[in-house]
């Protein structure tokens, strides 16, 4: 009997492998191999066009990058964008989700749909629309001047080094806010109503029950949403790329991915650009680990 049982376990384990094999083959060829290839290349001085074999330089590419103000500027630009985008995204989407649940049910559905709509448009379309809005003669200046009562001022949405960072953040925020609102609403709806009943009997007011019940129970969702949006932000490319193509100064929004692309493609330095990719990969890995670690430390059970 026991023997037969082990047999079933073994059989099931084998089936597990069978189910994952197609994907595993795929990831090996299209993810693991290229990233290992990049890791390997990062130890060489290699010109992308050269037919000569690359020369091994050890850690020189990494040392160069750590000494390069240009690279540190990219780290800065990436972090400004990431923090400037994902913190407001998480905060505002949570806030909007809570507020949506306070209005009547019919409006709830329409509001969710309306907030989500930008996420449906493609990045290229979004860029075309926003570049029109940020045009000096476009809606951006008109509206800001209307609200600030500053007629005729050009706020230089795409030109000024502060504004252009803000503009990229705004486009991203606009595009993804609805996505996270929907996720938070799903999370909020899953919290059992009985808990609130109990809290009310204990005499807690709305505010207290939000902080004592809703927030802790929502924490796994918050962590997940944060990690996902943070990874997305660290990988941002197309908005900055299209902005620079249409005349924005590069330095303020020269995020790491853009630097990787330019160093590899424009400057032909594929070894150095691979080293940058590996550094970005490690940064993402660290922050993901860190967020999960931090969230586990004070997880609540119920």
């Amino acid at each position: 009997m026991k023997k037969a049982y082990i047999g079933i376990d073994k059989k099931l384990a084998r089936w597990g492998w069978i189910f994952i094999t197609p994907s595993l083959l795929f990831f090996s060829l299209f993810s693991f191999y290229p990233i290992l290839n990049a890791a390997y290349t990062s130890f060489f001085r290699k010109n992308i066009l050269s037919l000569k074999p690359p020369t091994f330089t050890g850690l020189k590419n990494y040392i160069y990058l750590l000494k390069s103000p240009d690279f540190w500027n990219s780290i800065r630009a990436t972090f400004v964008f990431t923090l400037g985008t994902f913190i407001p995204l998480v905060v505002f989407s949570l806030l909007l989700a809570v507020m949506i649940l306070l209005v009547n049910k019919k409006s709830q559905k329409y509001l969710q749909l309306a907030y989500y709509a930008p996420a449906v448009l493609s990045s290229v379309v979004a860029a075309v629309i926003w570049l029109s809005i940020f045009n000096p003669r476009g809606l951006g200046n008109q509206w800001l001047n209307f609200f600030m009562n500053t007629p005729g001022i050009d706020h230089q949405w795409l030109a000024n080094s502060f504004m252009v960072q803000f503009s990229t953040i705004l486009v991203y925020f606009w595009k993804y806010i609805g996505y996270f609102v929907v996720i938070f609403i799903a999370g909020l709806s899953a919290i059992p109503g009985s808990l609130y009943e109990a809290a009310r009997i204990d005499g807690a007011d709305n505010w207290q029950s939000f902080w004592r019940i809703t927030f802790p129970l929502l924490q796994p969702t918050v962590v997940l949403v944060s990690v996902m949006s943070m990874l997305q932000c660290l990988k941002t490319f197309s908005t900055q790329y299209l902005f620079v193509q249409s005349g924005s100064p590069q330095a303020p929004i020269n995020v790491i991915t853009l630097n990787i692309y330019n160093t590899g493609i424009r400057d032909h330095q594929i070894g150095r650009s691979s080293a940058m990719s590996i550094i970005l990969f490690l940064i993402m890995l660290f922050f993901t680990w860190f967020q999960f670690k931090a969230s586990k430390a004070d997880s609540v059970s119920y």
């Binding site: 094999t21 230089q156 100064p249 590069q250 330019n262 424009r266 400057d267 032909h268």
Partner: protein, 430 residues
């Protein structure tokens, strides 16, 4: 077990629809891929040459692929990095030189292009134009076009600003500021009509000559020092700072592309910098404006206290052939290029592209092209654009410096100091 594996494999195969392109044979039919930048007027011409060439060479199929000129360098690079470059391609010499330097392109086969020897081929072109693609007695490219830029001027807007297109033409950069100030219209700070504006991302072609007028240099004559002549560079950077939104507010890189607005003739662009080919594009985009004769071309301005008369740099788009293809394919590729280039007069009259053979430059056709004399006179005063393996990076550094002073309020001294350090580093890496 076996059965399930087969099912799984076929499921995987379902997800991998294979519509592979055919593998080419060494003999028999040949497909030549030809990558070039988008230019609607030229496409019609070259499509015709392709069908004519295919008719006379039944074994050959030419596959012409176009992409925007700004995307071309990166597409080529990725393809060559994978050793899958096209047979024929063209790109500006600033971007194309790296292909010669790295041995990725094949030398011209003089017989295939109808010459006895490389010397005879070189001899048929205007002196010096093949220098940029010559190395060790071999020629690695033939010019699709050799182009310099000069300001196009909308006479109606000029008159509208109370200026006389006969007398008030801006000859100096100082004049350019003055007439632009007359022509510019704004609502508050927001410009609704610009007098003139620069062609921003193209600093090497259109703005480095301004520095050279003042006695500065991008790279010293011995090629060892970058950014020579501090005073010239400072004056140029100060000029750009004054031009931009924090100075006299005459234009900026984030306003719409000047030369495209110019064609539309919507009363929002007085002057724009472009090449001889622009006339053809005006004719295609806006025939009414083209026929009105309300546009003209004026020489590239000089600084008032210029120490040297320098006009816009000129760049070459050279057709090159992939050195990794078989001998036979290379030969056919050069034959096809020669066939296209045998229509120089049509390229000039239909698209406004100058293929600088001695024969064409001396022809009646060339002399009859409107404003060809302005461009020719300017070209004699210019030099070829800076080309090297690192020219794209150098251009990016100049862009950073100019944008710094124009848009971010960085002092010219500071922008220059940083430009010098970075450009030197790029130069030293060679």
């Amino acid at each position: 077990m076996k059965k399930t594996l087969i099912v799984l494999l076929s499921l995987l195969a379902l997800g991998l629809p294979v519509f592979a392109t055919g593998v080419q044979e060494e003999t028999g039919p040949v497909t030549i891929t030809f990558w070039t930048h988008e230019d609607p007027n030229r496409t019609a011409l070259e499509d015709r040459y392709i069908s004519e060439f295919e008719a006379s060479h039944p074994d050959v199929t030419i596959n012409r692929v176009t992409n925007s000129s700004s995307k071309m360098p990166e597409l080529l690079l990725t393809a060559f990095a994978a050793n899958e470059g096209p047979h024929i391609f063209n790109t500006q010499i600033e971007d194309g030189y790296a292909y010669i330097a790295n041995g990725r392109v094949a030398p011209v086969n003089p017989e295939a292009v109808g010459f006895q020897s490389t010397e005879a081929l070189t001899e048929s072109y205007v002196d010096g134009v093949l220098n940029a693609v010559s190395e060790d007695g071999q020629v690695y490219g033939l010019p699709l076009e050799l182009t310099n830029w000069a300001p196009y001027l909308n006479k109606r807007i000029f008159r509208d600003a109370g200026l006389d297109p006969e007398k008030d033409i801006p000859k100096t950069w100082e004049d350019m500021v003055a007439v632009s100030q007359r022509m510019v219209l704004r609502e508050g700070e927001i410009i609704t009509r610009r007098g003139f504006d620069f062609r921003y991302p193209y600093y090497l072609v259109s703005m480095v000559p301004m520095v050279e007028q003042l006695g500065g240099q991008l790279v010293s004559d011995d090629g060892k020092t970058a950014i020579v002549g501090d005073q010239a560079w400072l004056k140029f950077l100060q000029f750009m700072a004054d031009w931009g939104p924090n100075g006299l507010n005459l234009g900026s890189p984030t306003y719409q592309n000047a030369r495209k607005l110019f064609n539309a003739d919507n009363n929002d662009m007085g002057m724009a910098m472009s090449g001889l080919y622009q006339a053809g594009r005006i004719r295609a985009d806006n025939p009414e404006f083209y026929d009105s004769g309300d546009w003209m071309v004026i020489p590239y301005p000089q600084f008032k206290d210029a120490v040297k008369e320098v006009a816009s740099a000129y760049y070459g788009h050279f057709y090159m052939v992939n050195g990794q293809k078989s001998e036979r394919e290379q030969k056919i590729a050069w034959e096809f290029i020669a066939y296209m280039l045998s229509h120089s007069e049509e390229y000039l009259t239909e698209v406004g592209l100058v293929q600088p053979t001695k024969q064409l430059m001396a022809s009646e056709t060339y002399a009859n092209i409107p404003y060809a004399d302005v461009f020719a006179a300017d070209m004699a005063k210019g030099n070829i654009v800076y080309y090297a393996e690192n020219s794209a990076k150098i251009q990016e550094l100049i862009k950073e410096a100019v944008e710094g002073v124009m848009l971010s309020g960085i002092a010219p001294e500071k922008a220059l100091a940083s430009l010098k350090v970075k450009a030197q580093e790029v130069l030293d890496q060679e």
